[in-house]
Symmetry: D2
Subunit: 336 residues, 4 copies
Amino acid sequence: MGKRIALLTSGGDAPGMNAAIRAVVLAAHKFDCEVIGFIHGFNGLMLNEFQSLSIASVTNIIHQGGTILKSARCKEMHLPSGIIKATETLTKHQIDALIVIGGDGSFTGMLALSNTWKGQLIGIPGTIDNDVDGTDFTIGFSTAINTAIRAIDKIRDTANAFDRVFIVELMGRHSGHITFNVGIACAAEQVISFENFNSDEEEATLAQLTDGIEQSAKIKHSSHLIVIAENLWPGGAQKLAEQLTQRSGVDCTLCTLGYIQRGGSPVAKDRILATKMGVSAVQAVIDNQHLVMTAELNNTMNLVPLNIAILHKKRVNPALVDAQANILALTAQTEN
Amino acid sequence: MGKRIALLTSGGDAPGMNAAIRAVVLAAHKFDCEVIGFIHGFNGLMLNEFQSLSIASVTNIIHQGGTILKSARCKEMHLPSGIIKATETLTKHQIDALIVIGGDGSFTGMLALSNTWKGQLIGIPGTIDNDVDGTDFTIGFSTAINTAIRAIDKIRDTANAFDRVFIVELMGRHSGHITFNVGIACAAEQVISFENFNSDEEEATLAQLTDGIEQSAKIKHSSHLIVIAENLWPGGAQKLAEQLTQRSGVDCTLCTLGYIQRGGSPVAKDRILATKMGVSAVQAVIDNQHLVMTAELNNTMNLVPLNIAILHKKRVNPALVDAQANILALTAQTEN
Amino acid sequence: MGKRIALLTSGGDAPGMNAAIRAVVLAAHKFDCEVIGFIHGFNGLMLNEFQSLSIASVTNIIHQGGTILKSARCKEMHLPSGIIKATETLTKHQIDALIVIGGDGSFTGMLALSNTWKGQLIGIPGTIDNDVDGTDFTIGFSTAINTAIRAIDKIRDTANAFDRVFIVELMGRHSGHITFNVGIACAAEQVISFENFNSDEEEATLAQLTDGIEQSAKIKHSSHLIVIAENLWPGGAQKLAEQLTQRSGVDCTLCTLGYIQRGGSPVAKDRILATKMGVSAVQAVIDNQHLVMTAELNNTMNLVPLNIAILHKKRVNPALVDAQANILALTAQTEN
Amino acid sequence: MGKRIALLTSGGDAPGMNAAIRAVVLAAHKFDCEVIGFIHGFNGLMLNEFQSLSIASVTNIIHQGGTILKSARCKEMHLPSGIIKATETLTKHQIDALIVIGGDGSFTGMLALSNTWKGQLIGIPGTIDNDVDGTDFTIGFSTAINTAIRAIDKIRDTANAFDRVFIVELMGRHSGHITFNVGIACAAEQVISFENFNSDEEEATLAQLTDGIEQSAKIKHSSHLIVIAENLWPGGAQKLAEQLTQRSGVDCTLCTLGYIQRGGSPVAKDRILATKMGVSAVQAVIDNQHLVMTAELNNTMNLVPLNIAILHKKRVNPALVDAQANILALTAQTEN
């Protein structure tokens, strides 16, 4: 008989988490391991809320958004009392290894847990933000940017029909992976994110954005899209919309895509990535790995130490930022 | 040689407007009529901005959102000076008939124009709001509700993953066609719209909504969606979210779908409806009809007088409102 | 305590069947009725395969394709022995009313059953073919035509890139509801279905189709789509492709959309229609109706006698056939 | 004044080609270069069919499938006479560099052309098959696999409703990139492609496939999907369906996805990849590169020699093939 594996999803849900759950269960089965799923993230460890995960329970979930194990933010995991409860629950269930699908916040909880619980701890990066260092992609990111561009394609229809200015606010917490990739993929005239904006440059940025809008307005029949990261603009994106409306004299309308970016059936990339990572995580359990995260580096599966993964946020490729600024934001020079 | 037809799209853009433009041009061609498209709605008449519409110019547009003729709100059409300019432009181009694709605001402009311009005036109802009386459906409505339910399906994924409450604000200006149909189609636990809410019932509605949230919370593992019409709640939907959060003690998050509801490739219903209405409008021109709107009544094409169409907003079917309230909003009684 | 209702889905699956199941269960609950679902259509009655349907079991299924009750063709229901088994099973479970979601084949089985079983029999029309008489729409039809047009929009991309001829074969068994609606909605250059083709006109139709292809070829840069119903062309659609290739000297490629037309998350129309029909079916049970089918006529819920519904196939609106032939199939006259 | 660049799309169209065209034109504009687009691939060089590409002409195309420059297979490019015509046309237009978006067949034509024409030759890999060596991804591949999984998700609905076996044939010419990635992403029970099948193993494979179907049939309520590459099975996929039906005694239905895999609005990955490659190709022109192809290697833009790119087909990652065979094809061992 193989090892006993505990599995949970933690933090913001991300499309592909179910595909990862399925892969963990299938791979565990191959190695004669049993899998117990805890419900609502680390809260499931606090409350001993769980379900056994058979192959039947992961049938027909690879394409479903959300997570069948539910998720939650768990404040108690930041307290010594929470770590003790988690340790007790894992011990009671005679767990050999805990696999956590989540973001860097969840991995911090795992490091804390490693002080008291002596089983193996394996992380799988699942977050739409793609801000986990050590892996090229996190589960959910590809679906989120596709959801965003499909939504913005629709907004572009109206923008074109009215030669109108829209500001679209995107998720990403404090990094611009979503914003930059979406901005390029939807041909946004301007992109503003943490990578190319500091709050002390508000005035300069306002001038530059206004200039872009005015250049667009000079061209007959043209829309103008500004894509902006959430949590970025001093006073909020609605304030930016008002500032730009006032300065440019053109109606600038804010659209906040919000929670539609989190859900939905995962795209192929996220299903495949999640499947590979789930298999890789179980392999890591078999190989007696500990405190590592599954990672895709240069299209190859890898394991990276958890403490490296949470050291700092992964940066957006500077070449992408440059290309957007220098090659693709062409409005100002267009004259046809 | 047939008649000279002018065509424009006016008011908010709606998916299927391009399909209607195509159908007008194809049908006109069959009857040897020429079609001139004016750009940016009635503004095209103010500024004499136009393009000739050949069959080639409407190839491969049936599936495109927005409108190739662009749209706009035109304030000048509410002034005598605007009516005079429009009359002059139509006269200069020797137009026999003007076909306008738009909502009731646009039709009001046509009535005003009928006092000074003596050509035929034919309306095609195109608005996502479906609030034009005299026709069962307006062009764009079916696409808008489908866009909304696909977005809300994604939000439901996160709501389920977190057993969370979301309030989703939908378009519709001042009628609940979108809100009620979307609410039913996405299995919303509660629906609030003009049809079942008066602002003097704020307190009672708050109590009822809070009760629904609390009943849901009693059931383990369950999400809760409240769908609300825009322009409805005193102080705005964000205020409602705060009120419900405070009363229920549960985090109630607002999602505003906004402009994604306007654009996108039209669904089959809107393409077919637009095609039938475009053909019907040209047939009306040939038949010397005047001041009529194309309408689908009981799945059959019809013409209704324009002044009837704008007399009052079309009501949502009361049976739908009742069913939602009495059969489908089951949360409170669920006890499985 | 209310009645005991049995529920099953039969025949080809159709998107929206789950929405109907949900509505039946919710409405039954409102009237204090219990619902038992039989699995795999009438086979569930043969084998006494069933599950109790609580509100929890229909949560989060409104948007899912397929049917949670599974379906099947059941040959035994055409034999006296099958009717007896079904009667025994329904009697054993003390069922008051049986609701069947399916097509006319399923309804024929119900009529046979009415000779031996004395409970109420209520039909809900669910089939993508829309060929059930007595109702304007069947559950699943709207989704099927939308799936088809999205697929054909993609084929059009390649057709346009290569100025190429594609023949697209669509489902519909022996009626052209899907073919005509899809043909119009995807701007097919030519549509062939039961309504405008007899097998003794093969030669004339070949000449006409070839003529259309040649006219298109004369226009620079243009694609050509022919949409055809399954089970129509003598020798099959692949033979038509070869005949047209030989006659026109142009490569004519067949695409068979096949089973993708059956599945998928239902569009809003099907979710709402299914919800209304499910509620209406339970209301019919309460009202002691028998041998009736729920129907949408002129946007209003109705009940029609089951024997009327199966008397003959519903016809495609002749106006649609005429419009396609006379107004929309414009290739031959295009000269820009 | 910068260089004069010629641009064409060649071979099978792929989603994202328009995004690449746009990026070439935007980047060329930045470097003061002019771009002339030749129509219908190399045929445009044969017939001197072209259009000038301004920024306006590439506005609002990033999200469109197909190619605005049209494509074609050009037999004449394989003849000395064709190479001479191409040389003459490029010389007449005083072209400094020719950028070709296409697959390895197109690149072979470029190598031939390099003998007579002395301008720069730059390739951009655009094909849904992803079989071009030297780059991790080709433009169009990501969209094609997403289109396929969305279609198969729908087929799975029916397969589940009927506990049925479907065989789905996928594109890919002679490599299994599409088949393996789609097979994993749609949780296919079995995957057969060039990488795991030789025609002399027909008997063994049939036995293995039949075994899989029978194992699935033993499990109550389960569907079974076999994904197969086109051009693989001796006698064709329809023959395989018949062989499996006969051996297993279960109905095995073939679905051929066909041309829907080629078209459609590109996913984010293809839009971004195409944008990066278009910018990179123009940069290569500026840098006086010759006979190179833009490539994405380990998420970084690169240039690789054209002759390397066409030396042999890129192989599917063997780890993926192994994982599918050993971990994910679990049917036989499932016993829930």
